[in-house]
């Protein structure tokens, strides 16, 4: 079984090595300050006890007040995994450091996060949109990008079929 390392377990080791780099440590993840991110992740990759040589997944999340980039790391040698995060508060020009220098596998995944969230990865060698074309207006996965013209329709705040909501229309017959 892969052991899921909690943020708390690793946080004190990182804090010892890089004082002031941990922003938030909870069981689910560990959040690092953006300016220390590359240093910390490089160390986590090369440290013998952590050995996070495999970047499993990289993606963004729009929390409306801030943007997050989530890294899921895995170690084949010790068979453990951890979720790391970095946060940016700037909604107009969100930017975090690129980790392509740490794991070349981040190249396309950072381009994807840039394409869909507009998060700029500083230091990325070739940051272009990947799925959408250059000149596409807006960043589709942001929460303020609505795909229904006019936004959420009245009456659809709750999903039909949820407990407490009556099914209307053909479903009731």
């Amino acid at each position: 079984m892969t052991k899921q390392l909690t943020g708390l377990e690793v946080a004190h080791r990182i804090e010892e090595r890089f004082p002031g780099s941990v922003e938030e440590a909870v069981p689910e993840y560990l959040m690092i300050h953006a300016e220390k991110l590359v240093e910390v992740l490089t160390w986590m990759r090369d440290d013998e006890e952590l050995w996070f040589k495999f970047l499993s997944s990289l993606t963004g999340v729009d929390w409306i007040d801030w943007f997050e980039v989530v890294y899921h790391l895995e170690s084949f040698k010790h068979n453990h995994a951890i979720a790391m995060k970095v946060r940016t508060w700037d909604r107009d020009k969100p930017a975090v450091p690129s980790v392509t220098g740490v794991w070349p596998g981040a190249h396309f995944q950072e381009r994807e996060a840039y394409d869909l969230f507009g998060i700029v990865f500083k230091g990325h060698p070739d940051l272009r949109r990947i799925f959408l074309w250059e000149g596409f207006a807006g960043w589709p996965l942001r929460k303020d990008y609505l795909n229904l013209p006019g936004g959420e329709m009245p009456g659809l705040e709750r999903f039909p079929g949820e407990p407490g909501v009556e099914l209307s229309g053909r479903g009731t017959e």
């Binding site: 040589k53 997944s57 084949f76 794991w103 996965l141 999903f159 039909p160």
Partner: protein, 380 residues
């Protein structure tokens, strides 16, 4: 008189038989040698991640069929496992075994396609792929018997599977399992020592184990380079901890090794299935959920909409193409706040440039074939 030479750009695709879908490859050439490779994707981008944010957890299951459409079962499985992890649902034993059997049948069907199409890329035009379609067809018949669909299966449910297999399913499966070893022997005879395949694929697109890990490769791409990492072994899900199988790895990390790993995995999947048809326990195939609705035929299924607790999960499984992971963030609402698919086809392409530089145009086709992409999953 001097002859001027300049780099030449060749476009392959988006409509090209060897790009395995709508995928475009831009190669910069110096004579025959590739000096730069760039891929252009997005022709099939449906933005499932956005669409999923306004559908309920149950309504999102069909999307997962349509990412990797050659391996719908594993897409389903990874997603429902993520939701179960989020909600803390225990799946009944029989459902776990059914999930494993379906995933392994799907692996055989998918690897058969991959190796057949790869032989196509090497120049064995359509004959091997037709042989493999014949066997894939029989697996699709089994899927049709179990859930009524052949390609976009939508079989897994949050808490179990949609319905139990009919009584005639297991005998039919046993019949197929008796027949498949003969077929696999035939493939191995035809393809493994085939002079043309060896000439086209040995020593081409080589990746060292360190490179394979650094590029986040997974599945046969990673194991072909000699890294014995298989999530079925490392982090057993469904019922993989109760069956016996080996992890196939390559030695040189070239295109040929990836092809051999896929052929070897066919045998291992067969081994898992042979044990599973004998060991599958009886019992319910769906967990009783809090507000489960009971269908007319007496079966409990997850309600159409429910609200999981706040939190985030990442669940991953070993699909035929590699690690397929679902990252879900719940804000306590009926639809996921964030729904991210870590798709192996897309991430395995990150090493394409590394493998292609220095190769010839003809090699680029074979290298792309060895990545085994499904464009539905690359673009999502």
């Amino acid at each position: 008189m001097t002859i001027k030479s300049e780099p030449f750009v060749v476009n392959i695709g988006p409509q090209h038989p060897s790009t395995h879908g709508v995928f475009r490859l831009r190669l910069t050439l110096d004579g025959e040698k590739i000096t730069d490779a760039d891929m252009v994707v997005g022709y099939l981008h449906r933005s499932m991640e956005k669409l999923a944010e306004e559908r309920t957890y149950t309504q999102n299951i069909p999307f997962t069929d349509r990412t990797d459409y050659l391996s719908a079962m594993t897409g389903n499985l990874a997603y429902v496992m993520a939701v179960e992890k989020l909600m803390g649902i225990e799946v009944p034993e029989r459902a776990n075994w059914l999930r494993m059997m379906m995933a392994e049948l799907q692996r055989i069907a998918s690897h058969a396609m991959a190796t057949g199409i790869f032989a196509n890329d090497c120049g064995a035009w359509q004959t091997p792929v037709m042989h493999m379609f014949r066997d894939r067809e029989k697996i699709l018949d089994l899927f049709e018997m179990a859930c009524g669909a052949r390609l976009t299966l939508n079989y897994m449910r949050i808490g179990g599977v949609s319905k139990d297999i009919p009584p005639e399913w297991l005998p039919k499966a046993r019949e197929l399992l008796k027949e498949l070893p003969k077929r696999f022997a035939e493939y191995e005879d035809l393809l493994l020592n085939n002079e043309i395949i060896i000439a086209r694929s040995r020593g081409i697109g080589v990746l060292t184990p360190e490179q394979a890990i650094a590029y986040s490769l997974s599945g046969p791409m990673l194991r072909g380079s000699g890294v014995a990492w298989d999530i079925r072994k490392a982090d057993p899900y469904a019922a993989y901890d109760k069956v016996d199988f080996d992890v196939a790895i390559g030695r040189h990390g070239d295109v040929y090794d990836r092809f051999v790993v896929r052929l070897a995995e066919l045998r291992q999947s067969l081994r898992i299935l042979e044990q599973a048809v004998e060991m599958i326990p009886d019992g319910p195939v769906h967990a009783r959920l809090g507000a489960a609705t009971v269908q007319p035929w007496g079966q409990a299924v997850a309600p159409l909409a429910f609200r999981p607790p706040e939190g985030e999960v990442y669940a991953r499984i070993e699909s035929p193409r590699g690690e397929i992971g679902y990252y879900l963030v719940s804000d306590g609402g009926p639809a996921p706040f964030r729904f991210h698919i870590r798709s192996p086809s897309f991430i395995n392409l990150s090493a394409l440039k590394e493998m292609s530089i220095g190769a010839t145009v003809a090699d680029a086709i074979v290298i792309l074939g060895s990545v085994d992409i499904v464009v539905g999953e690359v673009d999502r």
